[in-house]
Amino acid sequence: MGNKPKHNSTKKIVLPVMLGVLALVLVLATAIGAVYVPFGETARIILKNIGILKNTAFHEGHEEIIFYVRFPGVLVAALVGAGLATSGTVMQGMFRNPMADPGILGVSSGAGLGAVIAIALGLNSKSIFFLPVFAAIGALAASYTVFRLSKRGGKIPVLTLVLSGIAVSMFLGAMTSIALTTIHGDQIKEYLFWTTGGLTARRWEHVAMAVIPIIACIAMILAYSRDLNILLLGEEEAQAVGLNSTKTRKILLVLTSITTAAAVSVSGNISFVGLIVPHIMRLIVGPDHRILIPVSAVGGSIFLVVCDLIARVIPNPRGIGVGIITSLIGAPYFLFLLVRTRKGGDAI
């Protein structure tokens, strides 16, 4: 008596294993590119530059390529993947709906409008900071509007939230289309590049912009993981054990909006990460958010780094957006889920 159940301990090894895989994938994705740098050398360059290894010598020019060109892009992919997957996990749990993803809050469409405004004003060519900042402002403004519209007497009912999310997204989409008609050829290409998820040419500045909001929000979401578990049993079930469900949901909605906005602002719209990663992870570790959230965050990182690698190695003169790869993998999986649900089984 008094011992914790066994199933927790077996599931605990999943996280360390995945962290190991993430480290490997990070190095591998950095090593592979137009100029091939051996795996060991890549690892040594990274370790030296983050101050762990000293006195090692590399092939000339490799250090620049690895640490200042490729590694920041890979890190951005990892951060964005973690942020989107965590947000998706929270959304699915909070709405008790396996089809929910961060897009319902209108974040993506808001970010899109912000981005197109930055491009139309010609700010994108002046500094790389303008586009992400505009996208983030658009994303947060959109989700704030959705919250305000769906608030009913201090509560945020799921149905009105989803419907307001759809309406706001449609409206912002139309605004984006109007803005697109005012800009010319090159700018349209810039927008198209952003909207399909551009992770190439990400620099350390981008990492710096995303790292604090994403890591901080994931940490705070983790602190609410038990509350999320209880919310899964139902709103009133949660209230019966003294959980202030309205307040908890508001906090979680704000945290996921910030996480998603931070991710989208540095990467563009990357769909399906927030939808499929939580599903796969739930199949492996079960629905307990105390394990599911960290595991999903790491899983999202791995998934997006790998998708980014695929996007980079596919021969294409202009590069192919990572959002295209995630959608190519995500859409068939989504359909698979639908078919399975229709056959009467649970989607999860």
Partner: protein
């Protein structure tokens, strides 16, 4: 803690609750002492669930006050209230496959700080209550794979793991087998014996009357009766709350309070019908006639006959003879008087003996006679043919039917 609340688990004063303009609860006043097992009864939509949700602070009410163990529910932190009162919801639909133990452990939430994880003490408490509700054997089984009964017992263990003095149960036996129905009420009985207070919203009035020490009857958001079982379950209350005609009696076999109800039907013109029976042959027919709203009389019956009890329960006039005697002239005439005045007389499928043979003779005075013949009269004749003789004569001018087809004749 407010003074004057000692000994009370719940005090509700002038409680109103409405959704938009619909008043769901109107001026509820209720005091429930510690250690009571209170059954909350009433038709669908009476406001039972709403009242329970107000008591544990899930619904914030418009007017009035609710105190649980002296704490003002509206002004007390929700975790603190959750340490005083727990609620088992009517339908809990869990769609994610949590193992049973995790569900039970959510009952420990009000005792944990944000960054605290469940201690081995919490696991011990959870397992203690799981073993009490006989669910420990599937502690790691996902709740989504459980039968309704198993899941309900897991949720009951969860409510117990909350370790509150006041426990609210909303239709805990809905969708359960009868064996679990009994079990849940037996648990409640034990909890109350251990000093807890239980309020249970319940549909099954027989279970409620058997296990609860007090009943509160609600209708349209108001409490219309509150008190001991016999005080609340009266024919008048049945009629106001449920719109049914009811008969409340002590069941002779179980010794428990029992009742028979049927829907009130208005505008039916009742005939005067006299029933000649005995030995239990008339009971079903009397009930049937009662339901149709006829004015029924019966006789002659002898004390101790179950048909006589039936007549008592349904409140119909009966001619009763003295025990172990034949039917005297006086009772015979009384009976004939009823028969003559009746639009219809029914002769039941009863045994004939020397004692009641004069009932057959009386039947001859009927304006319209219906004979119920489920078994041949020969097999029921204990008078060596004497009764059979009369029976045959009666049969010539009567309609003969069976109990199953009686309604067609009437």
């Amino acid at each position: 803690m407010i003074t004057g609340h000692e000994g009370y688990s719940v005090i509700i004063k002038d409680l109103d609750y409405s959704i938009d303009d619909n008043k769901i609860l109107k001026e509820i006043n209720l005091c429930i002492g510690k250690g009571e097992l209170v059954g909350l009864i009433g038709p669908n939509g009476a406001g039972k669930t709403t009242l329970l949700k107000c008591i544990c602070g899930i619904y914030s009410y418009d007017n009035g006050e609710i105190y649980v163990n002296g704490l003002d529910v509206r002004r007390t932190d929700s975790k603190k209230i959750a340490r005083e009162v727990s609620l088992m919801h009517q339908n809990t639909n869990i769609t994610f496959p949590f193992p049973a133990i995790d569900v039970v452990l959510t009952g420990r939430y009000p005792y944990l700080k944000r960054f605290e994880t469940e201690s081995s003490e919490d696991y011990k408490i959870a397992r203690k209550h799981m073993s009490y509700t006989d669910t420990l054997k599937f502690e790691s089984k996902p709740v989504t794979n459980m039968s309704g009964g198993e899941r309900q017992r897991v949720l009951f263990a969860k409510v117990l793991a909350q370790e509150t003095d006041l426990i609210l149960l909303d239709e805990p036996t809905a969708s359960l087998d009868i064996s679990y129905e009994e079990q849940i009420f037996k648990y409640c009985h034990e909890l109350v014996a251990n000093g807890k207070t239980v309020i249970v919203a319940v549909h099954d009035l027989k279970l409620a009357s058997r296990y609860c020490s007090r009943l509160v009857l609600m209708k349209d958001g108001e409490i219309i009766s509150d008190g001991k079982v016999e005080e609340v379950l009266t024919p008048e209350n049945f009629s106001t709350a449920y719109g049914v005609r009811a008969v409340v009696y002590k069941n002779r076999i179980t010794g428990l309070l029992d009742f028979y109800t049927h829907k009130l039907e208005h505008g039916k013109s009742g005939k005067k019908i006299h029933v000649i029976g005995g030995g239990g042959s008339a009971s079903g027919i009397i009930r049937q006639l009662f339901e149709y709203g006829h004015e029924v009389s019966t006789g002659v019956l002898f004390p101790g006959d179950s048909d006589l009890q039936c007549a008592d329960v349904f409140g119909i006039k009966a001619v009763v003879s003295e025990p172990f005697n034949g039917i005297s002239e006086q009772y015979f005439n009384e009976n004939v008087e009823f028969i003559k005045n009746a639009d219809l007389t029914i002769l039941c499928n009863m045994p004939f003996g020397i004692q009641n043979i004069r009932n057959l003779e009386a039947a001859a005075f009927a304006q319209n006679l219906v004979i119920v013949e489920d078994e041949p009269p020969m097999s029921r004749d204990y008078t060596c043919g004497q009764a059979l003789e009369i029976y045959k004569r009666l049969a010539q001018k009567a309609i003969i039917t069976t109990s199953a087809k009686l309604h067609e004749v009437i």
